[in-house]
């Protein structure tokens, strides 16, 4: 076993310390790495130059456990046949190279903060350009959303170098989590999405011809689950919006082009678009200050131009759209924290292209995009977010006070007091906070029993 000073150990540690999360498509974890403790990086066998898998199997192990937990690398133990693992380790990943195959075995709980290490380890393995990678999840108890995104990103990179990813023996629980990310489903998505070029980029210029008619045959709800599980990194958010654009384009029957417009710094801009025609259409609307995209973004409600030839609401924009061959537009509002911040725009060459089913699908896609944007804090300033947290804290305090009143009054425990408060809320059909306020107010009223009556 080699220590931190070994060549491979240095490679991994440098990778951990230097590689920015944005590069991995992950946001910086809320708990910084310094709050966990890198217990040991060890290697067995020979090291090799990046890009050239070693002839002999090579093992790199990485253990992380919460700071303050006693013990160290000197006390490893056998772990159910999965190799050496410190019993106090929260999360560990072991990389084994055998010929052109890389096998990564994950142990324990891959919490949000561990995604950083997981992503770096995956990257480190991929840099050796294996022909195939096996992710052994048989000893993984839990994997968070960020960890799943790290795995999804790894799969994308492996596809780029022509390598395959196999997920081995996930536990039932992990299987469900990974299933939500639909990683196994990703090649089909990318078949469509990668054709648009850098679909993870911010401003996209598509290569699919405007009006291309291919449709995906899959389960849209599974796609939604994958998309909405994205974390909040701006690049990932734009990537997720790009994915939504692509999903909308291939799912909405009448769609010839799709874009997402967002209000950023007080101006509308297109952050994802299926092709250049759509980008031009959006730009025309921003320039003229009119059009369904602008109205939906500002007013926060949907606008449907069924047939532009007979449209009178946007006199400047309509001729421009017709000139580009557009005959129908469906713009659905995007909202974050209930405030309009943009629009999902679907364009068609055919008039009357969008029936009720398409309108419902567009609304659904817009809703999903809004969830992603809300998660990203889009449209909300730091002050607004701080205010929302303060408000939540105030409400929480009142609810806690109300529970205290009920505990004293009813002689019940904390959980029962909350249930009482909940029943009051349901009975009166009012938010819990209103009932909590009422209970606290009632406690302020003097309740004078005989023993407290004042002498006249």
């Amino acid at each position: 076993m080699l220590g931190l000073n070994s060549k491979a150990g240095r490679v991994v540690v440098q990778c951990l310390l230097q590689r920015g999360l944005r590069e991995d498509g992950l946001r910086r974890p809320s708990r910084p790495l310094r709050r966990t403790r890198l217990v040991a990086v060890s290697t067995d066998g020979t090291t090799s130059r990046a890009g050239h898998p070693p002839a002999q199997p090579q093992v790199v192990r990485l253990w992380v456990r919460p700071q303050g937990v006693a013990g160290g690398a000197g006390r490893p133990c056998e772990n159910e046949g999965h190799g050496v693992r410190d019993p106090s380790t929260r999360f560990a990943v072991t990389t084994t190279f055998s010929g052109t195959e890389a096998v990564l075995a994950l142990f324990g709980r891959a919490e949000h903060a561990d995604a950083f290490i997981l992503g770096a380890t995956l990257d480190s393995a991929i840099e050796r350009r294996p022909a195939s990678m096996v992710l052994d999840l048989s000893a993984l108890d839990f994997i968070g959303v960020a960890g799943m995104v790290a795995v999804a990103n790894a799969e994308k990179r492996l596809m780029e170098i022509g390598a395959t990813l196999t997920i081995r023996s996930p536990s039932e629980l992990v299987n469900r989590l990974v299933g939500m990310m639909d990683i196994a489903h990703m090649p089909r998505l990318l078949d469509g999405a990668t054709a648009t070029g850098e679909h993870l980029g911010t401003k996209q210029k598509a290569e699919i011809p405007f009006g291309a008619t291919e449709r995906a045959h899959g389960n849209p709800s599974a796609d939604f689950r994958r998309v909405t599980a994205m974390p909040s990194d701006p690049d990932v958010i734009d990537g997720a919006l790009g994915l939504i654009v692509e999903l909308a384009r291939i799912s909405v029957e009448g769609a010839d082009g799709v874009s997402v417009s967002l209000l950023r710094h007080g101006r509308l801009s297109t952050v994802a678009a299926s092709d250049q025609t759509v980008m031009d259409m959006d730009a025309d609307q921003y320039a003229s200050g009119e059009g369904p995209c602008v109205d939906a973004s500002v007013q926060g409600r949907g606008f449907h131009a069924e047939a532009l030839a007979g449209e009178s609401r946007w006199p400047t924009f309509t001729p421009q759209a017709l000139g580009l061959g557009i005959n129908a537009i469906l713009s659905s509002p995007l909202k974050a924290f209930d405030q309009p911040i943009g629009a999902l725009n679907i364009y068609s060459r055919r008039p009357l292209a969008f029936g009720p089913k398409d309108q419902a699908a567009a609304a659904l896609f817009a809703k999903k995009a809004s969830v992603i944007l809300s998660d990203a804090g889009a449209g909300a300033s730091d002050t607004q977010i701080a205010f929302r947290y303060q408000e939540a804290l105030r409400t929480r305090k009142v609810i806690t006070l109300a529970m205290g009143v009920l505990m004293e009054r009813e002689g019940v425990d904390e959980d029962a007091a909350f249930s009482d408060l909940l029943r009051l809320s349901l009975y009166h059909g009012e938010p819990l906070r209103e009932q909590a306020h009422a209970v606290v107010r009632s406690a302020r009223q003097p309740v004078l029993g005989p023993e407290f009556e004042l002498d006249a």
């Binding site: 839990f142 629980l173 989590l177 939500m180 909405t228 924290f337 809300s374 909940l422």
Partner: protein, 83 residues
Amino acid sequence: MREPAVDSLDVYRQDAGLSHAELWLRYFELGGMSTGSELEAYLYGVRAPSTHDHDVIAHALNERFAELGGNYPVGYSEAVGAN
């Protein structure tokens, strides 16, 4: 009255149009003590929430549905006995 349907909580969240962060804040606001990661585990059915946690999550979701003009679709535990 029905048993808490933990594996469908995330479907409710999506129907309510709430991000994980927004739901966690609402859950926290109502007195929830679990972390965001734990909440996600409850939503996905990976971990079973306590009865109290389930009721807090259910009510956070139901209040959102009410704001949207809907009813209270998420069931509570028997401790609440409301449905």
